[in-house]
């Protein structure tokens, strides 16, 4: 950027820390969430809900701790990331709590498993763990460049995390879970951060080789095999995830992430072409052979077909989600007054966005989508501001992954693309998701702090000091 304006986060000397701005925004974010609780309670029972105080206090504590830690350990961090994430997490808690009140879902759970357990308390607990992880990242990780040291360890860790679910039983058609006793985690959520670290480290070292040591072939730059190798491995791996774990979303996420990072690292458009070709080939191939994916594609092509022909779960969900968006209309039915719970068991997870659509309407949907958009663009801005290539790559990788995930989930729920079964960051019920996304925000905050930190004042030099004049 040739013109430096006062809105840039690029560290002009003495960049304001903006911590008080962040505090104001945090108060705003928490107030909105608390009002939302009040609204749900008034709509459902006609009285202020007890949850309002419990969850409100929880949010205040989490937000307050996070803010204080940022103030102390990352004073120059981007002031928007934390409040935006808090707002989404707060709204998500309200949405989950609201769906916990749904008699329809309670009956359903009791019918299927004999008992109903509300998800909101768990979500608050997981949010606390997530914020704790953010605090840990900020305190332990003094400089994001330390992560470079763990490039190859990250690769191994990511591979293990990705492959692990294959050995566990499928849940609702997708093998994306690892169950350990009462706990179950979705390793994919954590893998997306770890793999971004690996890509950043790998590409920082190899970017010149990939960009320059290549032969020109039909107008495209073909890199050398030894540089291309890991990329092909990742491509194959994402296809394998898709095939063995039938996890369309995660494979799309990793592949998109990798293409974005390669493109940024090498500045070669040809990578985009390769990426698109390879993902298209993979997607077509898998869609032809994998019945789970096929049913998703069919449901996407005609969401209402299953009402006239056979009933398949995928179609029923997506058509219900689309109808709940339509029923919400421009202004929505209001908190607690919609019927998005008709979607069934995934109403508070994959499909939580349709509650937003129905109860807050088009206005609420645009607001929520813009909040996601803002997080992504603050992440990209952090990448632009970062002074080291590793930081740039890591920041763009994380925000790119975030953007793709939002697009894939929201697009799937709204019938824009086939449904893939990932979680809406921060909004959806689910421990792995909320914890991993808080960690992601933590790393972005750390990078932005480093990026915006004013350059250290030059060491005092005796030469520069004023010559002392000795007066007679």
């Amino acid at each position: 950027m040739s013109v430096v304006t006062n809105t840039t986060t690029i560290g002009a000397i003495d960049a304001p820390s903006r911590r008080n701005t962040e505090l104001m925004m945090m108060v705003f974010a928490i107030a909105i969430s608390v009002f939302a609780y009040a609204n749900v309670g008034l709509a459902i029972d006609g009285s202020l809900p007890s949850g309002m105080f419990g969850y409100g206090l929880g949010l205040v504590l989490l937000g307050g701790v996070a803010h204080l830690v940022v103030r102390k350990f990352a004073p120059y961090a981007d002031p928007l990331l934390l409040p935006l994430a808090t707002l989404l997490n707060g709204l998500g808690l309200v949405l989950i709590w609201r769906l916990d009140q749904s008699q329809r879902l309670i009956d359903r759970a009791e019918g299927a498993w004999g008992k109903f357990t509300p998800d909101a308390p768990k979500q608050l607990m997981y949010s606390a763990v997530g914020v704790a992880l953010l605090v840990a990242v900020l305190i332990i990780l003094k400089d994001h460049r330390i992560l470079q040291r763990y490039t190859y360890i990250s690769m191994v860790a990511a591979l293990v995390l990705l492959v692990l679910p294959m050995f566990f039983p499928a849940v609702n058609g997708a093998k994306i879970w690892v169950s350990l006793g009462p706990f179950s985690i979705q390793p994919g959520e954590f893998a997306k951060i770890i793999i971004a670290i690996f890509f950043s480290g790998y590409l920082m070292v190899k970017r010149d080789a990939l960009a320059l040591a290549s032969r020109r072939f039909m107008g495209l730059y073909l890199p050398r095999g030894r540089d291309l190798g890991p990329i092909l491995v990742i491509w194959a791996l994402s296809i394998l995830i898709l095939v063995f774990e039938t996890d369309l979303g995660t494979s799309l996420l990793f592949f998109g992430l990798f293409v974005i990072m390669l493109y940024v690292a090498t500045e070669r458009t040809s990578w985009i072409v390769f990426g698109l070709l390879m993902s298209a080939a993979g997607a077509v191939g898998v869609a032809t052979f994998e019945p789970h994916v096929q049913s998703r594609v069919t449901a996407w092509q005609d969401p209402f077909a299953c009402y006239s022909t056979d009933v398949s779960g995928a179609c029923e969900q997506i058509s219900n989600a689309i109808m709940s968006f339509g029923s919400g209309g421009t202004l929505g039915t209001g908190w607690g007054q919609g019927h998005s719970d008709l979607i069934g068991f995934a109403a508070n997870a994959d499909f939580i966005l349709s509650t937003v659509g129905e109860e807050l309407g088009l206005a609420g949907m645009m607001a929520v989508l813009l909040i996601y958009g803002l997080i992504v663009e603050r992440g990209v801005r952090t990448a632009l501001a970062a002074r080291d290539p590793f930081g740039k790559l890591l920041a763009i990788g994380l925000s790119g992954a975030f953007a793709i995930q939002v697009f894939v989930v929201a697009g799937g729920v709204m019938g824009l693309i086939p449904l893939t079964g990932m979680t809406m960051p921060f909004l959806a019920a689910g421990g792995s998701s909320v914890i991993a996304n808080w960690a992601l925000i933590g790393i972005l905050i750390r990078i932005s702090d480093t990026a915006r930190r004013p350059a250290p004042t030059p060491a005092p030099s005796s030469d520069a000091e004023m010559t002392q004049v000795v007066r007679p």
Binding site: E267, M323, S327, G361, L369, L370, L384, G400, G411
Partner: protein, 487 residues
């Protein structure tokens, strides 16, 4: 690295933009279509989310209600008071199986969603009143309805009663009946009750008064007589009709047309022919007039088209046919078919000096605040016969009751005119005949009523089945109930 970064920023922006466009498309462009789709359960949830308005009889008594249900999506369930009695009037409104008849036709008023209630809805939005449905006030007379239903008892059949002056439907009974309350909900029990009704061979859910057409038998001779008078075939009802006996159907060589028993039909007058129900006389009239004139007259009485009261009733049929069949149709056989409502309209038109009024059963629609938002104005449908001819026909029909086949229909203190009918059905008359009776009653203070009764399949022995024996007492009871209730 900043140039690709900016491009990625744009790419991410496009992703978010695509989502924004899609949400606008779904929630603004397609919102109406999606929110009213049949598959959208919210439509039904909303329908049963508040108390439904009521269907009112006797000008103020409600025969319906709503009860709150404990489980499921639907908050309120429809209930009926004395369901089997009123089911042919109200129809049903079931959470699981939809709605029919008045419950379906007047759904907008009953749910409160009708445009006519826009003002009320807007007002209650400001006053914060609970949403409620409006009421439908019917013309039904509960005493007449009860008399009809109890008269039919466990026999299969139907009764339709009209006010000839206005066309108001006073009774509409059909047996065997059903209780719509048994499947109004959404539970397994409701489903079972529904399945049982669907499988019942006696078709309890068929509204026989409106939707079933029967051969009208001799009751149709009233229409044939009207045609004879209107076309000037005969002018004096007591003059010789020059009808031979035996009389053979035209263009046939088989047995001559038989009368019921050995009755003196040769050259009988119109009055006598109707009194004794001479097939030969009326068969000949129909033949003399020809198919087209018979069709024209039948049409004026309302045949050959569906009637909406506002509930649809099946079209009665006077067919286009050849000469022998036309002669048979003239005595209510062959392909001649009529609904009980249609035959009540025939009696009503005669009683109302030849003017046929449009039958209706919705007198008023009321807003939830009980303001009238619609009042029915009686409307003439046609004039099947002149006032003079109508009075002649009244005399003939009154003779039937005073000294003919319909003496069972006499009502003390009223002048009653009627016509019996015993309609053959089944191939070669193989099945039990239908017993018909149509009549009207008049008193000094007015209070006229016209009734049609059909008993489809009684337990009576075949030889004992006759319109005068089985159907006339029911008609008598209905007429008496109307007259008593107007005192």
């Amino acid at each position: 690295m900043n140039k690709p970064l900016r491009r990625i920023a744009i790419f991410c922006g496009i992703l978010v933009l695509a989502l924004l466009v899609r949400t606008n498309y779904l929630q603004y462009v397609k919102a109406d279509e999606l929110s009213t789709r049949d598959e959208n359960r919210r439509v039904r949830i909303e329908r049963y989310a508040h108390e439904r308005g009521n269907i009112i009889v006797d000008g103020g008594k409600s025969v319906t209600g709503s009860v709150e249900t404990k489980s499921g999506d639907f908050k309120y369930k429809r209930v009926w008071e004395n369901g089997p009695l009123w089911a042919p009037v109200t129809g049903y409104s079931s959470q699981a199986f939809g709605a029919t008849q008045l419950e379906s036709i007047e759904d907008g008023i009953l749910t409160g969603n009708d445009d006519q209630l826009f003002f009320d809805r807007t007002m209650s939005m400001f006053t914060g009143d609970k949403k409620q449905g409006g009421n439908v006030v019917t013309t039904l007379n509960s005493a007449a309805q009860k008399a009809a239903f109890e008269g039919l008892g466990n026999k299969k059949g139907a009764v339709a009663a009209l006010d000839p002056k206005t066309g108001a439907i006073l009774a509409l009974a059909s047996t065997p009946s059903y209780d719509p309350s048994t499947f109004a909900g959404n539970s397994d029990k409701d489903s079972e009750a529904w399945q049982k009704l669907q499988k019942d061979k006696d078709k309890p859910m068929l509204n026989r008064a409106l939707r079933e057409t029967y051969p009208p038998g001799s009751t149709f001779k009233v229409v044939t007589a009207a045609a004879a008078l209107e076309n000037g075939l005969y002018t004096d009802i007591d003059a010789d009709t020059k009808s031979p006996l035996p009389w053979r159907l035209p263009l046939t060589t088989g047995k001559p047309l038989a009368n019921e028993g050995n009755i003196p039909c040769e050259n009988a007058s119109l009055r006598e022919a109707l009194r004794m129900s001479c097939n030969t006389v009326f068969g000949k009239i129909s033949d003399d007039l020809g198919n087209q004139k018979m069709i024209d007259e039948a049409d004026k009485f309302g045949f050959n088209k569906e009637i909406f009261s506002p509930v649809r009733s099946a079209a009665s049929i006077y067919p286009k046919d050849n000469r022998p069949q036309n002669a048979m149709a003239g005595i209510g056989q062959a392909s001649n078919r009529a609904t009980p409502l249609q035959m009540a309209m025939v009696a009503a038109a005669v009683a109302n000096d030849g003017k046929l009024m449009q039958p209706y059963m919705v007198a008023k629609r009321q807003s939830p605040g009980l303001d009238d938002i619609y009042t029915h104005e009686p409307e003439q449908l046609s004039q099947p016969l002149s006032g003079e001819n109508a009075q002649k026909l009244q005399q003939m029909m009154e003779t039937v009751v005073s000294s003919g086949t319909g003496t069972n229909a006499k009502v003390p203190g009223a002048t009653v005119g009627g016509k019996t009918g015993t309609a053959q059905h089944g191939l070669n008359n193989s099945e039990k005949p239908y017993a018909w009776f149509i009549s009207y009653a008049k008193t000094d203070s007015g209070s006229p009523v016209a009734v049609a009764v059909v008993v489809e399949d009684s337990k009576a022995l075949r030889d004992n089945i006759s319109g005068g024996g089985l159907a006339a007492p029911i008609a008598q009871a209905v007429m008496k109930a109307v007259i008593d209730s107007e005192k």
